[in-house]
Symmetry: C2
Subunit: 656 residues, 2 copies
């Protein structure tokens, strides 16, 4: 029967989607849960100094690449751009730690990135490369890394990121050239410019400007709402996802079925339209991509909604951006498509599949841009395709709150320099409006995941506190020559990563701060078992003969020594070890009466992990406490000072 | 006679140039000597924290605007782009200090930028606006401000700079629209894209890549050489210019005469060429701008060298970039033009006229790019016009060492996105090669002018020193409640801007550091004459009742109080004043044993002006010394430690 054939087709379509989705969710849930989602918030937190476990591990990289391929193939409303940024960061991390020891892929000459800053720089370049590859936008990649990803920025880093994306551009260009003859499917299409609009000459007048301001306002409101709803949905999803891998897979399957039903079912609502006489492209479309999908229509007719729904996301964007096709889509088709994409984009992000937000946001934005353009067709002379571009810009500005990078990425995507002032205007308006509601979507996810992100500015309430106020807990200090047992106990019972070293009489006349030792260096020293029977100071060179600089280099994530791995005899526990050689003798310090706001600025701008608080007056122990990232987090400060102005505190919590 | 008429024409041409040049030099030498040159190095130093006198004063602004107009009109080989950046910075400064009190142009609502950081941000935005206006490149403007001008960068600043340039773009666009009908001379021409190349389809192959690598190498060598020679010439010029205004004017006149002779004389060396049959433009050119200047040739012929020399700089660039005109210029014409522009660019920069380097550099680069393109015409399929663009990129990379911003500026100038990978490649090569010779041209000028610029990175030799090593001179500290006479004497005999305040017994039990007072705040307090007969501590609120926050706000450059303006009776000199209320009680401090490299990093990253050095051990005065910007300068450290490794020191000196 007639209906049965369509139903069988749906089963085949939905079934393949479901299998692909389940496979993506399975590898994600079982191998690397950290690979779910966009990855941009996590990379952003890493570059801020939060070493979250396994965010950049090789297993995450594997799942990110294949999960993303499976996820995109499954027809979800999600993008590959965010995952490509995360992939770039993972590859950079792998290179930076000299390959993976676990998988026996090591490379000695790659081991020169053994400190925090170099590794962060490398990962920033990885992010830039990811964006450059995803959008074929090398300059946009540099700007994305600068505006969204990186927390610290140096002139040298700008130049390195630029170098990276230049290489990406040349490689991409070569591959595209190689694939131009159609050897690699859709890859070679469009060249470096994915959605070419350059043929359109844009001249605009005052009514156009008004329309664009309206578009900016709509973008700001929809963007703010999107972020608000996404936050709520992610909180619900996190409850489901916490139940374990089967729940994650089930949720993914449900979303997959809904998506399949939308993309196969909704086009039936649209009526068939006769092909325009003057269509530039073939109508109806033959093959995979094109403006005029035939779907269920008779020959010579096309189904506008199917051109949007029953298509790859990239092709749907290309169709929305296409100019000279003002009457192609019915208003109702566009409206239904917008609502469906907006909702599907919201419910898809939190599932256990690598998923980017760029594509859903561009799709939804382009759709309402085209709606506005069609509605205002009588008063504005701009093409609906250009309105779609501006709509995409406004929604990107409203959700992600990036300005320069979105502007350049859109410029490089569409090659439409004439539109630049309008794109800038619409971005400014939508960002300003959305900023009055809530934070950008990535910042919001960082907060939701509880990552201790340090903002660039200090919160206002910090001005009323001093550094000494937030120092808590019993401070554990070591002597310059300390008993092994004490060190081992301290390392076992606490999770601290930094310990002040204080020389005490009889080594010095008065107690004196030597510096700071960090856990990983202590472990290396303990493993070397250079212990002494008596507490005497050794010469520093003696230690350096025994160890090389590489021994103290920062290990890859999760690969460092652990105190549980070391075992000591009772005799060894009674011996002494000299900490002078491994102590950082120039730790950054603040006086206890230093304003907390200024201490936070110091901590953030210099990218510290520990900040020592020293007493203001003499005749006291030479160290008051240690500040770490967690001591600057709003929740921690609120616990200590519940009396702080709650309104200030609320805004702080939002900003923390 | 025939020759006489040409000679009269030369006199008229050279004479007008000379009068305009003399006028430019006169206003520059007599009104604002600081307006000479590009202004970018000075703005860069200001944004680094060097408050050089009158760099951003209203008189400088005036001379910069009119001097630049006169200088460009005089036919010099110089650009208006650098001066426009400086102009933007001056206007921003004027707005930031709430107008000019000297010229009775004040505005109260503009007085909210009364601290260093806000004013610096505003001036950074001014720079961005200047570039955006000069090149009609809004995104390029933001990137220029980020890559070249600013020393500190925050996410909020990116967004503000973007806002500024968006406004510039919209205003420019409106003015161009208004001028399109030719009401404003050449202004409306070309729209937002000044040198449109978008019609050219660029496909390139491996031989093209080799040609481009060659171009990058040439650019690096020529760029390094240009910087080297410019440094030498500027040192010679500075001796001449130091002799006073008449010498400056004379030097300018000499350069003007040479320039006039070159642009009028050299075209005579070229033979006339017959107009091509298939020329897109009218040939020979009618009117002011065009590819085919008639000059002395008979009708139907044109003089290629005159099209380059006897033209505005902008038109010469447009002619060089023009595509489809491969055989337009003789090789010899291009070669002579290149040598002349290279040398004229070098001798023009140091004269007492506002002069930018972008235009000479783009001109020279485009010329040798076209030469290379013509020479390699047999093996490369790229148009010589595109080679000219790549040549300009390579020379910009070789002299200015900017990457991302040059790339985006060129993209926005030419609208040629397809060339982006090639432009990136050529920039990378030329910058890398030139960096092995010397520093970027702006950095070099900053060093030559002796401005204490703080580099983002600490020099290697600083690792061998500690903060206490470089503290010099007798330290002047004040008591919390200090005698007026002592303060006045200290302010009179020293030029210091910051003084530590130390509470001593009997006010406290032991000597204790209160904080830091700065000169301008002390002067405000002294002017208020809130003196006491006895040394007792007052309540802070008492001071705050008397003064408003505005009284302590940072004054405009050169407008603050001076100690010479204040007069005190003998009785007042014996009285006391309480400094607690105006002291900054949270100054940043380092321990004297802190590595100098880390102290420099702290100083630079936080944008400090004073850094207090505190003792490591108790039982000593609570303050060891104060570090300022000058204490980190290589020369100062070299004076203190002549024994430091001279090789290290040499590289330090280059980088300092």
């Amino acid at each position: 029967c007639f209906q049965c054939r369509y139903f069988t087709a749906f089963l085949a379509y939905g079934g393949s989607n479901l299998v692909l989705a389940a496979a993506a969710a399975a590898i994600c849930a079982y191998i690397a849960p950290a690979a779910a989602g966009s990855g941009i918030p996590e990379v952003k937190a890493y570059l801020n100094g939060v070493d979250a476990y396994s965010i950049l591990a090789p297993s995450t990289l594997f799942v990110k690449i294949f999960g993303s391929i499976l996820g995109v193939s499954a027809g979800f409303v999600l993008g590959k751009e965010g995952p490509m940024v995360h992939t770039g960061a993972c590859i950079a991390n792998l290179l930076g730690q000299g390959g993976s020891r676990k998988y026996h892929l090591t490379c000695n000459w790659l081991r020169y990135f053994k400190n925090d800053r170099d590794r962060r720089d490398l990962i920033t370049c990885g992010c830039a490369a990811g964006v450059a590859a995803a959008f074929r936008a090398p300059v946009g990649g540099v700007l994305f890394a600068l505006e969204e990803a990186a927390s610290w920025w140096r002139s040298a880093l700008l130049w390195r990121a630029f170098f990276t994306t230049a290489v990406v551009a040349v490689v991409l260009r070569t591959l595209i050239e190689f694939c131009r003859s159609g050897k690699c499917g859709l890859f070679g299409q469009g060249g470096l410019i994915m959605f070419d609009l350059s043929s359109t000459v844009a001249t605009y007048s005052s009514p156009d400007l008004l329309a664009i301001i309206l578009l900016g306002i709509i973008g700001g409101i929809f963007g703010g709402l999107f972020n608000f709803l996404l936050d709520k949905i992610l909180r619900i999803y996190s409850i489901i996802n916490e139940r374990g891998a089967p729940s994650k897979i089930l949720l993914t399957i449900i979303v997959s079925v809904i998506t399949s039903m939308c993309s196969y079912g909704l086009p039936w609502l649209a009526s068939c339209t006769q092909c325009p006489e003057d269509a530039v492209e073939q109508c109806p479309t033959v093959g995979r991509s094109g403006n005029y999908k035939n779907f269920q229509c008779p020959p010579g007719y096309y189904n506008g909604m199917a051109s949007l729904f029953f298509n790859t996301n990239d092709d749907a964007i290309r169709n929305l951006f296409s100019t000279g096709t003002a009457t192609e889509y019915h208003m109702s088709s566009l409206f239904i498509f917008f609502v469906a994409i907006y909702c599907l984009g919201l419910v898809t992000y939190g599932i256990a599949v690598p998923s980017g937000l760029f594509i859903p946001v561009i799709l939804a934005g382009a759709t309402y841009g085209r709606i506005v353009g069609t509605l205002l067709g009588s008063i504005s002379s701009l093409d609906p395709g250009l309105f779609a571009l501006l709509g995409a810009a406004s929604f990107l500005g409203g959700t992600m709150r990036m300005t320069v990078s979105v502007c350049v990425i859109l410029l490089e995507l569409t090659n439409d320099l004439q539109m630049l002032p309008l794109v800038m205007l619409v971005l400014l308006i939508s960002k300003t409006i959305a900023d009055s509601f809530n934070k950008g979507v990535y910042d919001q996810i960082v907060v939701m995941k509880g990552l201790p992100y340090m903002e660039a500015h200090a919160e206002p309430y910090m001005r009323h506190l001093v550094a000494g106020d937030v120092v808590t807990g019993p401070l554990i200090t070591f002597s310059g020559v300390e008993k092994v047992g004490d060190i081992v106990t301290a390392l076992r019972i606490t999770g601290h990563n930094g310990f002040p070293v204080v020389d005490e009489p009889p080594l010095t006349e008065v107690p004196e701060l030597v510096g700071l030792v960090i856990r990983s260096h202590l472990l290396v020293l303990l493993k070397g078992k250079m212990f002494m029977k008596e507490p005497v100071k050794m010469s520093g060179s003696f230690v350096m003969e025994r160890f090389g600089a590489f021994d103290f280099a920062k290990a890859g994530s999760g690969k460092g020594l652990k105190i549980e791995d070391l075992h000591f005899t009772d005799e060894e526990m009674q011996m002494y070890v000299d900490l002078h050689a491994i102590a950082n003798t120039s730790p950054y310090t603040v006086v206890e009466t230093m304003s907390l706001a200024k201490a936070a600025l110091l901590f953030r701008e210099l990218g510290l992990r520990h900040l020592l608080v020293v007493p203001k007056t003499p005749y006291r122990p030479p160290i008051v406490g240690i500040l770490t990232r967690h001591d600057f987090v709003a929740e921690h400060i609120h616990d200590l000072f519940p009396s702080l102005n709650p309104h200030n505190f609320h805004s702080a919590s939002m900003g923390g």
